[in-house]
């Protein structure tokens, strides 16, 4: 049997492969509905990656919408000022939230347990207020409208299939970054996840790795924010509400919080079902709630976690039969 580390890496690489497969959506599908669903799923996956990174250290962070807003607004300001180059916009959406996360992390990461959870939730509300109070910079309650689409080598990526392709490329970049961070610091993150105090006593610089994770999570959130703003051509505070943070946590948890593939599966399932439910109008929210409860109760380790558990059980049974 392959070592656990190698098996986890394989599962995570499969997660990236699945996102890359979303490039087929703009190539094969021309229906606006399919393209829109592809957009939403990949943005959901990217946001779930940000939750996943923090979950690797046993930290449940609700900061995703706040950093999405920072990344999205930063890219929107740049684009409306004439800089629409895709690599530059992606870089700005990645780096600006990371810069904001560094000093913020010094405060937030001092908090333990549920204080951390609640405070990260409140941060979203604080950022909403900041957006409303700075109309000169962020457009206030009106947001920033009419954002030009990203361009690549002078070519505007404005058609619906190209917009979808930009979102998928952003998702792939976010996936690769998540893979690099979580596997480069795998041992340290796992030690912190298992027992933070023990890890500290064994010489792991817990604060350093928690800060690295927090900053990486902020950057990934920023990329999701850019993808969202680029798709809507509007940066609006209503796109980054506190309650949306719960959805991103749900994506990561329902799919399985221990692998990248889990975030991909969770976001794909919940976003798709949410779209199907929206045809039911008023009932859509209740159906989503029911689905969320059912999956959490039926598969506590998440869908991918449960499948892996069953596969490993089958392998063990086979080994036992042979011996």
């Amino acid at each position: 049997m392959k070592p656990r580390r190698e098996r986890d890496l394989n599962v995570d690489i499969w997660g990236i492969v699945v996102i890359a497969a979303f490039l087929l959506v703009p190539l094969l599908g021309r229906s606006p509905l399919t393209l829109s669903l592809g957009h939403q799923v990949v943005i959901g996956i990217t946001a779930a990656f940000a939750v996943y990174i923090m979950e690797r250290m046993n930290l449940l962070a609700f900061t995703v919408p706040a950093f999405m807003a920072i990344g999205g607004y930063a890219a929107a300001m740049l684009a409306t000022n004439g800089i629409t180059s895709l690599p530059i916009l992606m870089l700005v959406a990645l780096v600006v939230p990371m810069i904001v996360a560094l000093p913020l992390g010094l405060v937030v990461l001092r908090l333990k347990g549920v204080y951390f959870i609640f405070f990260t939730f409140i941060l979203n509300e604080a950022l909403q207020v900041v957006i409303f109070e700075t109309p000169g910079l962020t457009g206030g309650a009106n947001g920033i409208a009419g954002i030009p689409p990203a361009s690549f080598m002078g070519q505007s990526l404005s058609t619906l299939p190209l917009l979808t392709a930009v979102t998928v490329v952003t998702g792939i970049v976010a996936g690769i970054l998540t893979l690099l961070v979580t596997h480069r610091f795998r041992a340290e993150f796992s030690a912190i996840q298992d027992n933070q105090t023990l890890a500290q006593s064994l010489g792991v610089a817990v604060w350093k790795y928690r800060t690295i994770g927090f900053i990486a999570s902020a950057g990934i959130s920023g990329l999701a924010g850019f993808a969202l703003v680029n798709m809507l051509s509007t940066a609006h505070p209503s796109s980054f509400t506190s309650m949306s943070a719960v959805q991103y946590v749900a994506y990561a948890f329902v799919g399985g919080k221990t692998t990248i593939l889990g975030s991909v599966v969770g976001a794909s399932l919940l976003v798709t079902m949410s779209n199907l439910f929206s045809a039911q109008g008023m009932l859509s929210s209740a159906l989503f709630g029911l689905l969320l409860m059912s999956v959490v109760m039926a598969a506590p380790g998440g869908i991918v976690g449960e499948i892996r558990k069953r596969i490993e059980r089958m392998r063990l049974n086979r080994l036992r039969d042979r011996t």
Partner: protein, 285 residues
Amino acid sequence: MESILSTGLIGLSLGTQYAMIAIGFTLIFGIMGVINFMHGGGYAIGGYLTFALVSVVGLPFWIAVIAAALGTAVIGYLIEVFFVDKWASDHTASMLITMGIYMISTTILIMIFGPEPVSGFSFPIRGAFRFAGLYLPYSTAIVMAVCTVVILAMFWLIYRTRYGISLRAMADDRDCATAQGIRPSVMFPMAFALAGLTGGLVTPILSLDAHLGEGQLLKAFIVVILGGLGSVGGATIAAFLVGMVEAYSSVYLGGSRGALVLFVIVLLILLVRPAGLMGRETRKA
């Protein structure tokens, strides 16, 4: 001067309401370890039940408020027994389950009462105290008085009765307390009754719509982390602090700037005391 005092009264009134919501929330977390996203929903359900019992059944307001609190408690009990008990040890799972229940309950409220805020639902007693330039509506004074009595009763229950001691034992060591035969299953009904009672009393004065719960939940978060998780005393002090800051900053700085001041204060307090005003080391998240 009168304006400063009148604003202080508004702050006290807000403080009592927030304390009612936050005490239930902090007890559920402190004793069961559950982050209850449905807690704000209990407030909205209390408001709607009171409205329905007054306007459809024709009950007198005060009986309707008590019946609504009891009805909300029953809903809380069912949620605890059927959905939460088994998952209480997993923060994220129980949080997502209560989030799902909140989504379902909001939809049910919208289906029954419509998506618009309820109109024509008002507090049965009108008029106001006017004294030396101070102004306090009777409705606000009554809500403050009722909430204060209930908060004092909660303190008595938690700190002066054997039952309260067993609940605090549960908060200290759940496994050990369970082995001694103590069951926390009255926590959800108690917390929901508090939220429902507050909803029944306050929504006729403010407003009533199905999404009210989200705002209440956020307030509970702020109050509870400021006060210190699991601390009833801390939650009460923090609730009054939040009420006062909100009242003064709203009057003198304007709505959203007032909210910003509140967030800054929360941040500063947590910088100095990462476990809140009266908090202690917390459960793992």
